[in-house]
Symmetry: C2
Subunit: 243 residues, 2 copies
DNA sequence: CGTCTAATTGAAGCATCTCAACATGCGTGG
DNA sequence: CCACGCATGTTGAGATGCTTCAATTAGACG
């Protein structure tokens, strides 16, 4: 892998995300942009990092959308998180050798590969950057807890309603939606994998949400027709997203 | 709150945990033991930190066992993690103001309350300690992902088998079990809350595991009678616990 | 135009839930 | 020391949410 020294890393989304948590020094931001790296593209459904991989690089999501998943014995899949531009996908590999799950692209996606040693150096020079990323780690943990609660303790109807609410809320925060309509890159099968449901039941439940006038789902785009009632059945409170 | 300056903090379990991940300097260990703190005791089922609390202190678990949970609309509860001695219970509150979940004691439990500012000072002076704790954060995230997979994609039979396997394995690692028998502090109702199952079904499934000769459950103590078969139905691989 | 993936629908089965009753053990007050 | 209350565990019966299997339709794309 040839490092792209001299081509600054497009760290816009990352820095926006980190500065939402607290200020960064100009030097820290410059150091981020100066990180040596390689750019890679992934097609929809392509695997970015395989389960049990031992990556030598940290992957920064520059563009697109990915999800985390594991495969269980029966071949079933559990999706555990979604990420958009600005996310460090495998910061854990600074400390842990192996991926305990896989990361896959949902849409055409661009990633920067940064050597682990460079990240460590940056953290030594700018501990504040490390703190902001640690902060981000805790927010992701909180989202994961919500996810777990949804899977374990909600009916399919409420679970799907919650997922859609959160997705549109996050799209809006990322400037990819007006808060009512947005592109929805998951298939019904993937939605089922995210929530622990069968495709068939996902389909029926979406129909029901649609029939009740809460959402519209035409192909790849999703519209929330009745935020108030959707939030009610979903028990959705956007506060925890820290948007 | 009066800080117990002069009474060293019993950091044995914490340091054992951190040094399992990599060495610490003597100065760092001394700084940990020198942290000002207050000791508090909790009875079984007592709430250590309430959901939505805004704690000014970081809670270090010195002794006992606690769990994390949230309450959903219907009054149902989802348990999301267990912790034993040496765990920093709310390190997230260095960055986030509110608890997004509750922490409760399972058994008689001792906790040290350490002012957030003191932890921050320690991190500034000993960045390596911060790195070890961050490392620990990622391990907990991996455990949470396993938990999620279990709730979403396993039958009750496999899910309970996995939970029991993990519990005994961790007890053994903490020196509280010989690997076959251990105290099991959860009620069947709590086990149900952890796995998203009703009490009734937990009971029946435990009976079935027992009838099949995999475990014995007499009141508060649990025995694994057939590790090989239990691991098989549980699809349990202790590697990810990093023990 | 044929092929592939995603969405849709029906029918039958089972895992799990709810409701309800009862048993067991333990702590506490009388 | 007994009696009571309360939390936990146990079991039965019936309801249902969700799954599986199977077949069909609708779009997307070379």
């Amino acid at each position: 892998m040839a490092a792209n020294i001299g081509h600054p890393l497009p760290v816009g989304p990352l820095i926006r995300k980190l500065e939402a948590l607290g200020p960064l020094t100009g030097a820290a931001k410059a150091a981020l942009a100066d990180l040596p790296h390689t750019i890679r593209q992934f097609a929809p459904h392509e695997v970015v990092l395989q389960q049990a991989a031992q990556p030598a690089n940290i992957y920064l999501l520059l563009n697109g959308c990915v999800f985390r998943s594991t495969v269980v014995i029966g071949g079933e899949r559990q999706i555990m998180a979604l990420h958009v531009a600005g996310a460090m996908l495998n910061l854990q590999n600074l400390f842990l050798e192996r991926m305990d799950h896989a990361i896959s692209a949902l849409v055409p996606t661009t990633v920067a590969l940064i050597p682990r040693s460079e990240i460590r150096k940056l953290f030594d020079a700018h501990p504040l950057v490390a703190m902001r990323l640690w902060h981000e780690t805790f927010i992701e943990a909180a989202i994961a807890r919500k996810w777990l609660t949804g899977v374990g303790r909600r009916t399919a109807y409420a679970s799907i309603a919650h997922f859609l609410s959160e997705f549109v809320a996050r799209s809006k925060a990322a400037g990819m939606s007006d808060g009512k309509t947005c592109e929805f890159p998951l298939t019904q099968a993937e939605l089922g994998d995210a929530l622990g449901l069968s495709v068939v039941h996902v389909n029926r439940t979406l129909k029901k949400l649609s029939r009740h006038g809460l959402i519209s789902w035409n192909g790849r785009s999703l519209t929330i027709d009745d935020w108030a009632r959707l939030n009610e059945v979903a028990d959705f409170d956007p506060a925890y997203l820290e948007l």
